[in-house]
Symmetry: D3
Subunit: 162 residues, 6 copies
Amino acid sequence: MIYKLFEALDKKFAVQRASAHCDVPCGIYDPITAQIAALTVVRMVDLMHGLEAEGVAYQNSMSRYVLVKEEHAEKAKHEIRVIWGDYIKAQHVEQFPELHELTHKIMQFGSKSRQTADREAAVAFVENINKFADIFWATKGIATKRAKAPYAPALEMVYPNL
Amino acid sequence: MIYKLFEALDKKFAVQRASAHCDVPCGIYDPITAQIAALTVVRMVDLMHGLEAEGVAYQNSMSRYVLVKEEHAEKAKHEIRVIWGDYIKAQHVEQFPELHELTHKIMQFGSKSRQTADREAAVAFVENINKFADIFWATKGIATKRAKAPYAPALEMVYPNL
Amino acid sequence: MIYKLFEALDKKFAVQRASAHCDVPCGIYDPITAQIAALTVVRMVDLMHGLEAEGVAYQNSMSRYVLVKEEHAEKAKHEIRVIWGDYIKAQHVEQFPELHELTHKIMQFGSKSRQTADREAAVAFVENINKFADIFWATKGIATKRAKAPYAPALEMVYPNL
Amino acid sequence: MIYKLFEALDKKFAVQRASAHCDVPCGIYDPITAQIAALTVVRMVDLMHGLEAEGVAYQNSMSRYVLVKEEHAEKAKHEIRVIWGDYIKAQHVEQFPELHELTHKIMQFGSKSRQTADREAAVAFVENINKFADIFWATKGIATKRAKAPYAPALEMVYPNL
Amino acid sequence: MIYKLFEALDKKFAVQRASAHCDVPCGIYDPITAQIAALTVVRMVDLMHGLEAEGVAYQNSMSRYVLVKEEHAEKAKHEIRVIWGDYIKAQHVEQFPELHELTHKIMQFGSKSRQTADREAAVAFVENINKFADIFWATKGIATKRAKAPYAPALEMVYPNL
Amino acid sequence: MIYKLFEALDKKFAVQRASAHCDVPCGIYDPITAQIAALTVVRMVDLMHGLEAEGVAYQNSMSRYVLVKEEHAEKAKHEIRVIWGDYIKAQHVEQFPELHELTHKIMQFGSKSRQTADREAAVAFVENINKFADIFWATKGIATKRAKAPYAPALEMVYPNL
């Protein structure tokens, strides 16, 4: 019986959702926050592999890099979840059927980037978020470009053409 | 060129992911945290509609209910994202192809439950998380049962048979 | 004089508290959150002692285990404080006079579990929280059972019989 | 059997705890943080009752006062829990047998101060924390004095004589 | 005597600071996060003044707008403090002597934007952060442009020319 | 044009700010929180240099010291920013023209204390915050004294004469 109620609820909201353009508080979604956070993950990986200190200084820096990597990987995952879960609607998924899979992949590269200091995983994390940004701006009818980030590691980032 | 590198990375990790059973820190995933949080959302909705105080006392209680509702809706969404993003692997999605869609729906009912004091949306939030819990325990080969939660609102919850 | 005022206040609220069944927002207290968090502490201790990586990979994993251990020990302490401080009333303490001492002991095993990677301390942390869960469910008239947790480390946990 | 193990663990740590003077990271415990937070709760209650704005301005201020009250009541409870749970040892409880009961009472006045805009409850919250501060400094052999706080509401506060 | 030690320390670090290009973890500072957060503050002010719901729905939305406004005003202030306190060095202040005053003004418009629902204050908050962004990119030798934000309220934002 | 609007806004608020004594929620600012946090940073540095454990125990303690150091350095910086940004007004800066520079210096010693385990930097962090406290209490017309902190490291602290 509870399932029936549920099916009914689903139908009711499906209609509402189809007609809604965005949630309130509507609309200041921007993937740049996730992109910067993911780039920071790559930066921390680079710092970890390049660290030359010893003893207490080594421990101090290494623990901090891991901590910052951890926080920014989580931040990037969180930001993407918010856009995917709050902004992306059924009609967007119809238009870009890869959206669920791509979001799931971002989560997994985020996990990998926390569990390891593997630079390739961190770069793939950035790049999948770039792909997500491309789609996001496309749903808003805004063209994008690629440019190097103005800070190390100067990976290519997707930016809206404003 | 960066896309090629990326495709290569994807292939590399796809293999790794297929063979990995769980991320490290492995394995203490439990949907009960999300279920309790979603139930709290329903509770807050009930308290909001039943509030009979006036003036400062009304404002104090109402603001707090909204705040608690907000926090627990977010908490439930976060917990589901963690299980979906960190624990769920490609082989699980093959077995339960509705997983991406269900997770996305949970996010949307979570949004709805924050934006409104609509009891039906909050109940649907709980119920979709119950469905997620069912699948989660199935991936672990653990049977589930349904029982009323031992606190108001005593909605049916999915529990593992331990 | 301020003390007199205070005594007066105490009397006033003592009466109110005796008649109150629960705080608003009433009632969705559940020790399972603390139990899972404490179990996670044991898991991290096991991972720390079993870690076989070297260099950067070692530092990355070790720092993360310590961090997760830290967070979950704190989370378990916090959750127990909330139940003890918000739900437990004078009449419960009359019925279970060990409650204050038990809660204090949980805090201390929590501290010990943060300060060390001592598995016995972490197990005692879990077990004292199990005892607390037993009492909690007894105050609600709900029987409990013991069963192995469905994830490593599969320690015995106290669950309500629902 | 698990209980036996547990009893054994308890004995082992009881000895260690008796000889330990403080946890590491040892010793920068100071109740002033909790005292200031509780005073802030009283301040918010005063502002709530004195608010004269209307419409959006009223809602903006009232929601903020409730939010700040909520956060500082929680902060005060948290800080007291930390001192009680991490610093207070069995020998302190022998010397000041009211410590558990007092801490529990602080938690309850903290709850009351969140649930209501009752000034007497908030003042009792401050005053019980003052009592706790008195005992805390006594365990360190440091005398205390009472003086009015140098900010509104200028309630009497317990300070160490430094 | 402690002052003398302090003067000596100051001199020592003054030299170090003059030669340091950036703190480690170096360099991924970007004012866009603060800019987006401040824009969100303006958006919330607009939503607050345009809210047409009643009763529980009114309270639910209004409390949430205030909460989001509060969080994003704080976030913007925090982000600017980080860039000002961690990235900006003595040589930047020599080059842009208004930096301290501008940062202080941003903090004050942030406070004003939290205390009120005054749109002019919120717009001034955004605009001062735009000024800060202009200076920030100038210290890096990167030209900027002005363009409308791609989301409501479509205020002009300062962006780097990448 | 947007600049003109901005100038107009500035003028408007400049007048308001000059006449305002403090922001609402007014007035419970106290630098003691920042002072205690900075002292904790020194304590962590001392513990880091004195750590004698090995292996897992070493990693556990070291990671925790770094983490606590990180959190308290940030906390001290945050608290000073709040007082400087919310309480300090133009008239205070006229009276104490070193305020901006001093606050900036505190931020930099905070960064240094996070990046290194340099005791001199941490002590300078404490001492600059002491200077800030001196000025803060002077703006309130409250005399201060210097006394050793009642916990290790027993550095001299600035306290108000209450």
